[in-house]
């Protein structure tokens, strides 16, 4: 089922399907009409058919002026093609290793989607070419460092621009690079292999390619998607740990959470109840009235993470369908149809990405404390120390708790907000910038680290539940936790020599393929997603 772009209906799921799943992309018929209308406006201007009251040519930023502080310089229309070419080349100023392939593809998709609104004044052919790259499996090389996120991700998008806008007849021209068929080749070679033809950029089309925070949003969107799913996995892991530690489930009672009615906490408590329904291990320790915070406060902490991610996710979802160009062409809005504004500034997504880091770091931090309890003799309701197996030598899962602690600690540094910083750029014309690209990249790292922590908790909790089942044959587990345990036990290779590091990799694979959540929901019913409440 192709994803059809119209600038208004792109979802996180679409982004993931195209960026990671290779889903085909199309452009809505109505969008072509919108793009043709604004393109005609730009061409009228560039060909001198739009003039001021005194008959003088209209001056529109970026169409017949220089860029940034150089907007003060007017460029005659006959030099516009050179202006566009220079823009892309001089702005291809990234540095460092490329972003991952999924982020590069998501960036191309988001840029194409933004252009389909018809506010950027480019030819539909430019959007067709961007979509063509995606459908042909051409992944641009986009240096990961060096963007301030304002005015947008100029440098990263200009590296895309090199690939799509070079001259066909100049073999010496630098055309960027791309992966195609698993090979790293020049942009020229990539297009040639797939029969795609580069464009010579006309007026306005340079800024249509490079002005907007699409790399920021691409990375943040993938991180947001992963974070939203990670919340469910964290709840499954928490439920398994709570069960293995013979927890007290009254802390998750709906009457309790109705008294402090955060939507996220209500949802988390409901999911925990669903996962643990039918457990013969919880609420069975005589005289135990309450658990430690890492168990008892799970709805509070994960609920706060849920509420935060719901907000940051909604910011990112707005940006998926936003025009981020400057100037924008709003036909029918005014007599003068071109507006210079600040839609490219990465701040909305930068702040969201920074806040996402905090929410996800806390999710992992709480998980680490639960798995510390699982592996610590005097805290684990008589589980074996370090979850060691008595029938074989070894230190048990001791090492993995240390690993989780290292990942949680690393997240604390990474959670330092990038968007609070700004440095004046471009002769003080661009005097406040977002640093949103850095925020998004760090968010991706935090989510990756948190995924590994949750994998470790799942591994420890599965081991602990197996110990309980062996010690008390016939004891029932929760409907959800039982299903999760089955998936984990059948998904791990039967290999006595496997080391903890390899086990984590195996669990990460089960998490990534949705195997775990699908099986849990088949057994226990649907879990509430981020943003949903009971």
């Amino acid at each position: 089922m192709a994803v059809t772009l119209d600038g208004q209906n792109l979802t996180l799921e679409h982004v993931v399907a195209v960026a990671r799943g290779g889903e085909a992309v199309a452009v809505a018929a109505a969008s072509y009409e919108e793009m043709r209308r604004s393109r005609a406006w730009v061409e009228d201007l560039a060909e001198g058919r739009r003039v001021g009251p005194g008959g003088e040519p209209l001056v529109v930023y970026g169409i017949n002026t220089g860029f940034g502080s150089l907007a003060r310089v007017h460029i005659p229309f006959e030099q516009v093609r050179e202006l566009m070419r220079n823009l892309i080349r001089s702005h291809a100023a990234g540095i460092g290793p490329s972003v991952d392939a999924d982020a590069a593809r998501a960036m191309v998709l988001l840029r194409a989607n933004a252009l389909t609104r018809g506010a950027s004044g480019c030819r539909p052919a430019l959007v067709d070419l961007l979509v063509g790259l995606l459908n042909a499996g051409i992944t641009p090389v986009i240096p990961s460092r060096g963007s301030c996120g304002s005015s947008g991700d100029l440098a990263p998008l200009s590296h895309l621009g090199l690939i799509v806008s070079h001259a066909v007849d100049d073999p010496d021209e630098e055309t960027g690079s791309a992966w195609v068929d698993g090979e790293l080749v020049s942009g020229r070679e990539a297009l040639a292999r797939r029969g795609l033809v580069p464009l010579t950029l006309g007026p306005k089309e340079g800024l249509a390619i490079n002005n907007g925070a699409q790399l920021t949003t691409a990375i943040a969107a993938l991180a947001a998607y992963d974070a939203e799913r990670l919340v469910l996995l964290a709840e499954v892991a928490a439920a398994m740990s709570i069960e293995a530690l013979r927890g007290v489930t009254r802390a998750f009672h709906p009457a309790v959470h109705a008294l402090r009615p955060y939507a996220g906490a209500l949802a988390c408590a409901a999911n925990l109840r669903r996962l643990l329904d039918g457990s013969g291990l919880t609420d069975t320790v005589p005289g135990k009235v309450q658990d430690a915070y890492s168990l008892r406060c799970t709805p509070t902490v994960l609920g706060a993470a849920r509420d935060t991610l719901a907000h940051t996710g909604s910011q990112i979802r707005v940006e998926l369908n936003a025009v981020t160009d400057n100037p924008v062409i709003c036909l029918d809005a005014d007599e003068d149809d071109a507006f210079s504004a600040g839609l490219f500034h990465g701040e909305p997504v930068g702040i969201a990405a920074d806040v996402m880091k905090i929410a996800v770091a806390e999710l992992a931090s709480l998980s680490e404390r639960r798995l510390f309890r699982l592996t610590t003799g005097n805290l684990s309701a008589r589980l074996p120390a370090s979850l060691r197996r008595d029938d074989r030598p070894g230190v048990g899962l001791f090492g993995l708790q240390t690993t989780a602690a290292a990942l949680v600690s690393e997240n604390k540094s990474l959670a330092w907000p990038a968007s609070v910083d700004s440095l004046p750029t471009c002769e003080d014309q661009e005097d406040h910038v977002a640093m949103s690209t850095t925020a998004a990249r760090r968010a991706g790292e935090v989510v990756g680290n948190a995924r590994a922590v949750i994998a470790i908790e799942l591994l420890c909790a599965a081991r602990a539940l197996r110990y309980r089942l062996d010690a008390e044959p016939g004891v029932s587990l929760g409907r959800g936790t039982r299903a999760a345990l089955d998936v984990l036990e059948s998904g791990l290779r039967d290999d006595d020599e496997a080391v903890p590091s390899e086990r984590v990799t195996e669990v990460l694979a089960l998490m990534g393929e949705h195997t775990l959540i699908d099986a849990v929901e088949a057994a226990a019913g649907r879990l509430l997603r981020v943003g949903e409440s009971p």
């Binding site: 220079n86 080349r89 230190v395 001791f398 708790q401 240390t402 690993t403 690393e410 002769e427 020599e497």
Partner: protein, 485 residues
């Protein structure tokens, strides 16, 4: 050839990382043999049995010492994330052999020689970069290396090929470790110090490059040279500042563009000796700590006078703190360089064309170079956040305060990377600026030589081209040390 067991320097660790040959010294071999004899005389206590009992209590099942050892090493292979680069793995192996070479670990010389043999044969274990808290040392990363060294599985890169440990270790000595040897190969903050040594080595070159960038920029802005006068800097008395002044006077010798009769400059020029100088002062302190650690017995327990003594020498705190310090020092060097780049591209502040290119407007020149630098500097600020201020209880509260040293050291290396790129941009932009100034007066001879060196890899900017390529070309030169003098 670098002899382990003798005094080991930061530069030597960097050389081993880059592929230099190593050997275990004769004195070290003798020390180890004698220390191991003491250990045997004590009855070769099974430290793994002791440690296991201490960590997890008595067990029901019986296990042989070898089974226990295998399970111990495998059980500590708990790293996650991308593999460390080969130079880091080499540095770690060398630093661990150096610890054993102290002859206080109760190990036979063969234990150190096994690591040396791997370095010599180019067997580089795949070691995940994340998952160590740097106390009780870098257990996980070292265990991944030990697993290959002891042929207990895992993978290694040899001659550019990823191989299973048995294939990778082909032709190397068979080494069957004793329990104390298995513990001693993995117990210490050795990944931390290995990465720290590499960071210090890079930092020294980068600070010298920063002085070069400063000198070039000073001629571009026609600076007042009063700020590098010996008397001025000596009057405040910080050694680093005095050093920077001396280098700048050398680099700017015979300059007419920069002179004492210019008006006072902005802080990014005038206060550069204070900022760069304080980074030098920090680095000399940090190098001292790191070199001490390179030559320290970072292991536990130690075999001293026929006694098994439990101490805390594995804790990464000394180096963790030093690395967090280095991160801050290097970030401020990047930060002040970026402000000079901003100035040089700002027409009103220099009197030169905006973004240092003719026909601005049609051309954007070096506009984006400054953005790139600003982004890198901002990134460094985030990476400077100290790792060592954190500690999370681990190991069932036995290991209840940890150093986070490897996180600090990895952060320092990331900042070195970004700083190299910022300095490359300063040098690239300054070379262009100097070409406008050459029309006013000749450049100082050293500065002219540097400008010419830039022009060997990138031509003067006359019309817009792909800036990325210029930046990468000069950054490669900075990393190779081509702009240190």
């Amino acid at each position: 050839m670098i002899t382990l067991g003798e005094r080991l320097t930061i530069a030597q660790v960097a050389a081993v990382a880059a592929g230099a040959e190593v050997v275990l010294g004769e004195d070290a071999r003798a020390r180890m043999t004698a220390n191991h004899a003491d250990f045997v005389a004590m009855g070769s206590p099974d430290v793994l049995e002791m440690k296991e009992a201490w960590l997890t209590g008595p067990r029901a099942g019986e296990a042989s010492p070898w089974e226990r050892l295998v399970a111990f090493v495998r059980g500590h292979c708990a790293g996650v994330g991308a593999p460390l680069p080969v130079p880091a793995v080499r540095a770690m192996l060398a630093c661990r052999a150096q610890v054993l070479a102290h002859g206080l670990s109760g190990c036979r010389p063969e234990a150190a020689e096994q690591l040396v043999a791997m370095l010599q044969a180019g067997v580089h274990p795949v070691v995940p970069s994340q998952g160590s808290v740097g106390a009780a040392g870098d257990l996980a990363p070292l265990a991944h290396a030990a697993r290959v060294a002891f042929r207990l599985g895992g993978q290694a890169v040899r001659d550019g090929r990823l191989l299973d440990s048995d294939a990778a270790m082909e032709g190397l000595p068979e080494f069957r470790p004793e329990p104390k040897e298995a513990l001693s190969v993995i117990n210490g903050a050795t990944l931390t110090v290995a990465l720290a040594a590499l960071a210090c080595h890079q930092a020294r070159g980068l600070l010298r490059t920063a002085e070069v960038g400063l000198a070039m920029s000073m001629e571009v802005v026609r600076a007042n040279t009063g700020m590098v006068r010996f008397e001025v800097l000596q009057s405040r008395g910080h050694g680093g500042g005095v050093r920077v002044g001396r280098r700048l006077r050398e680099l700017l010798s015979e300059s007419t563009l920069a002179s004492v009769d210019r008006r006072p400059d902005a802080f990014s020029i005038r206060c550069a000796p204070a900022v760069l100088g304080s980074a030098w002062d920090a680095l000399s302190h940090i190098e001292e700590v790191v070199e001490r650690e390179l030559n320290g017995a970072c292991d536990n327990p130690l075999v001293i006078a026929r006694e098994l003594v439990d101490g805390g020498n594995f804790h990464g705190a000394p180096v963790a703190l030093a690395m967090d310090h280095l991160k801050t020092a290097l970030t401020q060097v990047a930060s002040i360089a970026e402000r000079r780049i901003f100035r040089m591209t700002y027409g009103v502040l220099t009197g030169l064309p905006s973004f240092l290119v003719e026909s601005t407007g049609l051309n954007s020149g070096f506009m984006l170079a400054q953005y790139t630098a600003a982004s890198l500097v901002s990134e460094c600020k985030g990476l400077s956040m100290p790792a060592s201020v954190d500690a999370i209880p681990t190991g069932q509260h036995h290991e209840d305060h940890v150093s986070m040293g490897p996180i600090a050291a990895r952060g320092a290396l990331r900042i070195c990377d970004a700083l190299a790129e910022v300095l490359a941009i300063e040098i690239l932009v300054a070379a262009q600026g100097l070409e406008f100034r050459m029309e006013e007066a000749p450049l100082a001879p050293r500065v002219e030589a540097l400008r010419a060196r830039v022009r060997e890899v990138v031509p003067r900017w006359r019309e817009d081209r792909v800036l990325h390529l210029d930046q990468q070309a000069v950054a490669a030169g900075v990393r190779a040390g081509r702009y240190e003098d």
